[in-house]
């Protein structure tokens, strides 16, 4: 039942065939039974008519011969009766046996002679009482249907016909003919079974035809679905075959046009991405060459600044510092545009994140102390290996640390590393100025500043956290932020330890408990 329900919902062909067959069944049933009624009525009428004719001739014959025997002696009359009955019963065939009962109408004065005769096996009480009543009242042949058990046979439908017969010197008698309808029943049975068979065959044919027709419609639809699925999964060269000019081919043409336009669109986008990528690399080259020259020139000027006038000397320092900043900005912009063009790739290597974190902290220790803060590392293990793009992970850590140093407000920064078999997490917590919770979602926005009036201590590019988030996501990892004004902020990076897998759990609670 469940299977049928499933197929009903999943297969158009099944649904159409089933409903067609069910509808046809009711039509065939109705017409079949009407036909059956009509035919059996006809057959019964024919049989009845012939039974009446036969009975009439038999009874008329008896009446006629008995009338001729008027005034004859008793033995003559007896032989006439016997003769009539014999000839009547011998008329029937073996299957269509006639039985005759010749009985005296009751309620008359007792006669000298009794001529009552009946065929073998026949009991007088087999004649229905109401038929007898009708016969006695009427002057013509009366009949009724009944059943009769022939010896050696089960009950067989019969027709019983009767009329009155005058017997000379013996008053009124009644003659009843029992005519078997076994043949009629056989005929009716044949008609019924033929109709049933025809109906069944018809249903089967209708089912088959429907299946063929539905297949013609459904096959192209299924084909279309298959092609659409393959198209979706990236095979943009899939097209539907269009041969004819029917509705299906309209669908096919429409689909093909859509596919064509999608393919063009995708090609255009791919081309755009290529152009973008190309542009990025061109910008990179074109900008870096003059920047290299600038860099070296400024270094030479900078190294000779002692001999300059104080203003020129300070200018040389500013020049070098701003070139630094310019270069960082260029790097960050290029990285961002690589993310946007989706051409950033991971170069996974095995490395120890604890060592990496220690190195980053060491490198930034001077900057931290310049901002009168410090970094404290606590780790769950002395060495935690993972497979990831070390350059990107280092960049994430540096970005988180410099961000924390920028906002630490002179209070210490806590760095925690936790790990499981599957993941590793790094938390960077500062206790500085913090951030309004409703602004948290914006800290990863490009060039966003929590407080525009506040100068950047490190001259950061404003892209650091945004790039860190992209780097984390590229590893299927996550970078999350928490913050409260005056309570500081907490950034937690979670990465899978194997490249390509995704993170299972958060190992460091984002919201600090203290």
């Amino acid at each position: 039942m469940q299977r049928v329900g499933f197929r009903l919902r999943s297969s158009l062909a099944f649904r159409v065939i089933l409903s067609t067959v069910l509808l046809s069944l009711s039509v065939v049933w109705l017409t079949g039974s009407a036909l059956n009624n009509q035919l059996s009525k006809g057959v019964k009428q024919v049989n009845l008519d012939s039974a009446i004719i036969e009975a009439r001739s038999t009874i008329f014959n008896a009446q006629y011969r008995l009338a001729l025997a008027q005034g004859e002696a008793e033995p003559i009359i007896r032989s006439v009766i016997s003769d009539v009955i014999t000839s009547a019963t011998s008329l029937g065939t073996a299957e269509n046996t006639r039985l005759i009962a010749f009985i005296k109408t009751p309620g008359q004065e007792v006669s000298k002679y009794d001529y009552e005769v009946k065929s073998e096996f026949l009991e007088v009480n087999s004649i229905p009482e109401n038929l007898k009543v009708q016969v006695r009242k009427s002057s013509e042949i009366k009949w009724t249907y009944s059943n009769f058990a022939y010896p050696g046979n089960s009950s067989t439908p019969i027709i019983i016909l009767g009329d009155k017969v005058k017997v000379p010197n013996a008053g009124q008698y009644e003659m009843y003919l029992f005519i078997s309808l076994a043949n009629q029943e056989a005929t009716l049975e044949l008609i019924r079974s033929s109709l049933l068979l025809t109906g069944f065959a018809l249903l089967l044919l209708i089912g088959l035809i429907t299946w063929l027709v539905v297949r013609q419609v459904v096959r192209p639809v299924r084909e279309a679905a298959r092609i659409a699925t393959e198209f979706t999964s990236g095979d943009f060269h899939q097209r539907m075959d269009v041969h004819s000019r029917d509705e299906i081919s309209i669908l096919g043409n429409a689909f093909n046009e859509m596919a064509e336009s999608l393919q063009k669109q995708i090609a255009r986008l791919e081309n755009l991405s290529r152009v973008q990528q190309r542009f990025v690399s061109d910008v990179s080259h074109e900008l870096r060459t003059p920047l290299t020259t600038l860099r070296m020139a400024s270094e030479i000027i900078h190294s000779a600044r002692e001999s300059f006038d104080p203003n020129v000397s300070r200018s040389a320092e500013l020049l070098v510092a701003q070139l630094d900043r310019f270069e960082r900005l260029l790097e960050d912009l290029l990285e961002v545009s690589r993310f946007d063009a989706e051409v950033a790739v991971l170069e996974g290597v095995d490395f120890d994140i604890v060592t990496l974190a220690k190195r980053c902290i060491e490198d930034l220790a001077l900057v931290a102390s310049e901002n009168s803060t410090s970094m404290v590392l606590s780790v769950s293990n002395e060495s935690i290996m993972l497979n990831a793009d070390i350059r990107r992970v280092e960049r994430i850590l540096r970005n988180l640390l410099t961000n924390a140093i920028d906002h630490a407000d002179g209070k210490p920064i806590e760095v925690t590393i936790a790990h499981t078999e599957h993941d590793v997490a790094v938390g960077v917590r500062d206790n500085g100025i913090g951030i309004e919770p409703h602004l948290l979602s914006r800290v990863f926005d490009r060039f966003w500043r929590a407080d525009p009036s506040r100068a950047r201590v490190r001259g950061g590019t404003g892209l650091g956290l945004s790039i860190a988030l992209e780097d984390a996501r590229l590893h299927n990892g996550e970078l999350e932020a928490w913050g409260r004004p005056r309570y500081g902020a907490h950034f937690v990076l979670t990465l899978p330890r194997r490249e390509g897998s995704s993170i299972e759990a958060r190992l460091i609670t984002l919201k600090p408990t203290t």
């Binding site: 690399s281 080259h285 870096r288 003059p290 020259t293 860099r295 070296m296 270094e299 270069e327 095995d350």
Partner: protein, 228 residues
């Protein structure tokens, strides 16, 4: 006096480079086109080549292959791209080292050049043996039997570094500091590519190396000595 050939199509950068190099006491030959390199190289062989990747005429990778085909001179590629692809191509073409523009400090460039020009391991006297090779450190020769195997200076340094402490497993970082003079670098591709190049010259079957053996997950070590 040391001579460095600077191949760069950007005239300002080239001039700046020569100012910096001259300041460090190095003579400079400037070439602006890739297809002009070889002629000058043959006429006036430099001690080191500073080679930009993007060049008119022939690109830097091709130039690198051409030079390598006839000389073991140290080559440092200048690449404007942080692009991995370019770096690996350059190293595979025979460059010993690379620098990504813009460099942090001119002194960094000078340091790299000096590292490449330095006579390494000059303190080791006599012969070193590794597998079936013998290495004459002073003469800068590698011999298999009587046959001299020609190596670039970097490849020679790499081989000597491994051979002078047979059995010690060198991490890639250790090799980077020993051979390239990097304090800490994360770019282990330098090591990988040059180990491949070295193997292709000295191994009997570079697919199954027996002289420079990979220690999985750690680094490399020198293979066992073979007495012939």
């Amino acid at each position: 006096m040391t001579l460095v050939m600077v191949v760069d199509d950007d005239q300002d950068l080239a001039e700046m480079l020569s100012i910096v190099l001259n300041g460090a006491g190095i003579d400079v030959d400037l070439v602006g086109r890739g297809d002009e390199v070889l002629e000058l190289f043959r006429n006036n062989p430099p001690d080191l080549v500073l080679l930009d990747v993007m060049l008119p005429g022939i690109d830097g990778i091709e130039v690198c292959k051409l030079i390598r085909a006839e000389s073991m001179v140290p080559i440092i590629m200048l690449t404007a791209k942080g692009d991995t692809h370019d770096v690996v191509l350059g190293l595979e073409a025979g460059a010993d080292d690379y620098m990504v523009k813009p460099f942090r400090h001119p002194s960094e460039l000078i340091a790299r050049i000096k590292t490449r020009l330095r006579r390494t391991n000059s303190d080791i006297a006599g012969l070193l043996a590794i597998s079936d090779l013998s290495i004459d450190v002073q003469a800068h020769h590698v011999l298999r039997g009587n046959k001299v195997i020609s190596l670039t200076r970097l490849e020679f340094d790499l081989l000597v570094a491994l051979a002078k402490e047979p059995g010690r497993v060198f991490t890639r970082d250790a090799l980077l500091s020993e051979v390239w003079g990097y304090r800490h670098s994360t770019d282990t591709r330098l090591v990988n590519v040059h180990v491949q190049r070295l193997r292709s010259k000295i191994e009997h079957d570079p697919e199954n190396p027996e002289i420079v053996v990979t220690v999985r997950g750690v680094g490399y070590k020198a293979g066992a000595l073979v007495h012939s």
